[in-house]
């Protein structure tokens, strides 16, 4: 568990913002910083690689290359020197989802700076999630909302791409605009869902629910035990034998 003492482990040197600390070699950067004595406030969120709070950049001595990672997911390596970038100023355009359209005009109106992309690919190289950031920016420039949404789906919005973009684009906010346009306007609506909402509003299930709510525990257990289980390998067309409560 976090915070436990680690006595017999091999220690390696890392440089947190240039300052040397010796930390157990098996730790992630996040746990290594805690081991070194930091109490994390910024730069720590889900500790599970999905919230984007702990974007980190690092280098090794003698190498020109800038490496990136999420501090909670990246294991320390000897002599790495690192800093977290827990926050980076970003543009966020305000839009009314009911009024905008899934096309290039929307993208250009809200984020005109995408057109400044130099295709240097630094964004892609800065992505700790291995997303083809430059390719989705290119899709945004073409107004290809579908491609923009699909390519950016795994984005954790850590902002490392934005911190390094020479064209000053805020890629991850362009991406969420694209995904929302895609989800709302391009993918067909779920008709079965709209139908169900309609049935509920009409009160179709009201009586059966009220009745089961008044049922005592023993009778409930019986109903529960006897409910028909959809087989795991069943296809979309499966229907239960008992249709009384549908």
């Amino acid at each position: 568990m976090e915070g436990k003492t680690r006595e017999r482990e091999e220690l390696v040197p890392i440089f947190i913002m240039g300052k040397r600390y010796e930390v157990p070699s098996s730790l992630t950067i996040q746990k290594a910083m805690e081991y070194a004595g930091y109490q994390l406030l910024r730069g720590c969120g889900c500790r599970g690689g999905i919230c984007g709070a702990c974007g980190t950049v690092y280098r090794f001595p003698g190498s020109y290359k800038i490496e990136v990672g999420l501090a909670c997911q990246t294991v320390v390596q000897p002599n790495m020197y690192l800093t977290q970038i827990p926050f980076f100023p970003a543009t966020k355009s305000v839009y009314d989802m009911e009024k905008i359209k899934p096309n290039i005009e929307t993208i250009v109106k809200h984020y005109p700076e995408v057109l400044r992309c130099l295709q240097c690919n630094t964004c892609t190289k800065s992505c700790p999630m291995d997303i083809e950031v430059m390719d989705y920016v290119a899709a945004a420039m073409r107004g290809d909302i579908t491609r923009l949404a699909e390519l950016s789906f795994d984005c954790v919005m850590c902002g490392l791409c934005t911190s390094r973009c020479p064209a000053e684009i805020c890629q991850y906010n362009v991406a969420i605009l694209g995904r929302r346009l895609y989800g709302k306007y391009i993918v067909p609506k779920a008709e079965h869902l709209a139908q169900m909402v309609n049935e509920i509003q009409k009160g179709k299930y009201e009586q059966m629910l009220r009745k089961v709510m008044d049922t005592d525990e023993e009778a409930l257990k019986k109903l529960y035990n006897e409910r028909e289980i959809e087989p795991e390998q069943a296809g979309e067309d499966w229907t239960p034998k008992d249709k009384t409560y549908l």
Binding site: K31, G49, V156, L246
Partner: protein
């Protein structure tokens, strides 16, 4: 860290039975489900809630005598972080209609509906907006959306069965009838649920479901919902203000006994601020970072049960906190990923769980508490767990079966988040199984509330994981994302309605805190503990010894 040579040897036993198990799966032959009686027996013998010392009675407050986890009792039997006599309640830093404490799924959903209903909203959140367990929920969101095979009636039965038939019916009714509406609401915001080309929502089973009604957005359903709701709130920034790194440390009442604001703590400047509000929504989430019984956790850094403490001090009862949820499949190897959630969706997609001999010992779709108990039984009494190099023990989750069942590339496509995570450690989960063990996952109980999110204190509403009841003694997969959306939306509406109607202005007070302190003294509880905890303590003891001039208040330096 890739699997060690020893573990690679053991994986061969899994591979040896894999094709035979895939064939069984294809024929629809499942490991038999336990009867309700057998479930009960497994729980009593192996679930962590039932071990000696798992529960302790609370000695103060409205739920005095209620026995729950000692880790939570310790927080309840603690003093305020701030001496009420030092707080000047006339110096109001922010005034708003609705104050929402917590910026996760429930808080953000509440903000949206309150704003739509005409309220000015302030969200106060401990870390960043969206830093919450909602972000980490992977598997999906339940709703009976397919009328040809499912209905809210079956969803209702499943929720009750999962919760040991103890759930208050009205809460469950609200959950299951609002569920399809919530999905449509999210769809309209542009949430990218996984769909067929015709727009049909894809659905899977979860533990304890009788119909496949788990809707998902690949394996990052919670993140997709959270980032969409957050983006929507940011589009309404004019009326929804957000204060980040500003946790609430105390609720404020007024002379009429109504909730009227909160004391916030700016974690960065270390100042305390007063927020005056006409209504308050508590949406602080759960408490996995208390590491109950020393268990590792899947929870967010900020999940320290703050809302329980604040709500309890103003007199809201606690319920269902005696049951703690351990998710069956948390990572035990590699150690760097320890505690991390492996979504139930892996089992829903066909992966078996196996012991050291590569044998099945439990159906993959038992409710979470039962599944976890069976894992613990296999590793303890039966002794067929898989030992890890760090001295822990685990169970195999045979993810490569999914590629065989659904076609090559299925694991990578359906579980992109986990695939890349393990790849970083040199493990390809489409070729090698994962090692898992139960991990502290969910706070089943919490503040007592009703289906309108009202609590016993006027002007004080509760929603999401901080509240207790809807899941009874055990939540099913896919019902927490649903819970935060359903009850978040309701809390926002109820709070904004209260602002328009019953709200009554009055002088602000922290007398309830003084009374609580007095009650602690009267119960003979002399302690330097403070609560809420705000952040877990992961400090390094040797470092701490050298911090000669540092001062810690609770876990915070």
């Amino acid at each position: 860290m890739p699997y060690t040579r020893e573990l690679k040897e053991l994986i061969k036993k899994v591979e040896a039975t894999r094709l035979m198990r895939v064939e069984k799966k294809r024929r629809g032959e499942e490991f038999p489900l336990l009867s309700l009686k057998e479930r009960e027996e497994r729980l009593r013998k192996y679930h962590p809630d039932f071990i000696e010392g798992a529960r302790k009675e609370i000695r103060v407050g409205v739920s005095k005598g209620y026995a729950i986890s000692p880790e939570i009792v310790n927080l309840l039997e603690a003093r305020s972080r701030v001496n009420p006599d030092l707080v000047d309640l006339t110096r109001i830093a922010y005034e708003t209609d609705v104050l929402i404490i917590g910026g996760g799924g429930a808080g953000t959903a509440a903000a949206l509906t309150a704003q739509e209903n005409g309220a000015r909203v302030l969200i106060a959140t401990k870390l960043r907006h969206g830093d919450a367990n909602t972000m980490m929920a992977e598997g999906g969101i339940q709703a009976a959306s397919k009328g040809g095979k499912d209905s809210p009636y079956y969803h209702y039965l499943d929720v009750l069965g999962g919760g040991h038939f103890k759930n208050p019916p009205e809460l469950v009714y609200t959950l299951v009838t609002e569920a399809p509406k919530v999905l449509a609401w999210l769809e309209n915001f542009g949430c990218m649920f996984t769909k067929s080309p015709e727009g049909r929502l894809m659905t899977l089973h979860g533990g304890g479901t009788c119909r496949k009604r788990m809707h998902y957005a690949a394996d990052i359903t919670g993140a997709e919902i959270m980032r969409t709701l957050r983006d929507e709130a940011r589009n309404r920034a004019e009326h929804i203000k957000v204060l980040e790194f500003s946790p609430a440390v105390e609720l404020i009442l007024n002379e009429h006994g109504c909730c009227a604001g909160a004391v916030l703590y700016n974690l960065e400047t270390e100042e305390y601020f007063i927020v005056k509000a006409k209504a308050v929504v508590m949406a602080t989430g759960g408490s996995g970072r208390l590491h109950i019984q020393g268990f590792m956790t899947t929870n967010h850094y900020g999940a320290t049960g703050d809302g329980l403490v604040l709500g309890y001090r103003v007199g809201v009862k606690l319920c269902f906190l005696h049951a703690v949820q351990y998710h069956p499949t948390g990572v035990v190897f590699p150690e760097q990923a320890e505690g991390l959630l492996i979504t139930e969706k892996f089992r829903g997609a066909g992966a078996n769980v196996l012991n050291i001999d590569g044998e099945q010992f439990v159906n993959e779709r038992e409710p979470r508490d039962v599944e976890s108990s069976c894992f613990i039984r296999e590793c303890t009494k039966i002794g067929k767990g898989i030992p890890t190099p760090t001295g822990r023990v685990g169970i195999w989750l045979d993810s490569p079966m999914i590629d065989i069942l659904m076609g090559e590339g299925a694991v990578k496509r359906e579980f992109p988040g986990k695939h890349i995570l393990f790849k970083r450690y040199g493990i390809d989960i489409s070729k090698e199984p994962m090692l898992v063990y139960p991990t502290l996952h969910y706070q089943n109980g919490g503040l007592e509330y009703n289906s309108k999110c009202e609590t016993s204190v006027p002007g004080f509403f509760s929603s999401g994981e901080v509240s207790g009841g809807v899941h009874g003694e055990n939540r099913l997969m896919g019902n927490s994302l649903l819970d935060v959306c359903v009850f978040g939306r309701i809390a926002g509406i109820s709070a904004s309605e209260y602002v328009k109607g019953k709200f009554k202005d009055g002088k602000l007070t922290l007398d309830h805190v003084r009374r609580y302190h007095k009650e602690l003294e009267q119960a003979g509880i002399v302690t330097d503990r403070v609560a809420p905890m705000l952040l877990p303590d992961y400090s390094n003891p040797p470092v701490r010894e050298r911090q000669l001039t540092a001062h810690y208040l609770g876990s915070i330096r």
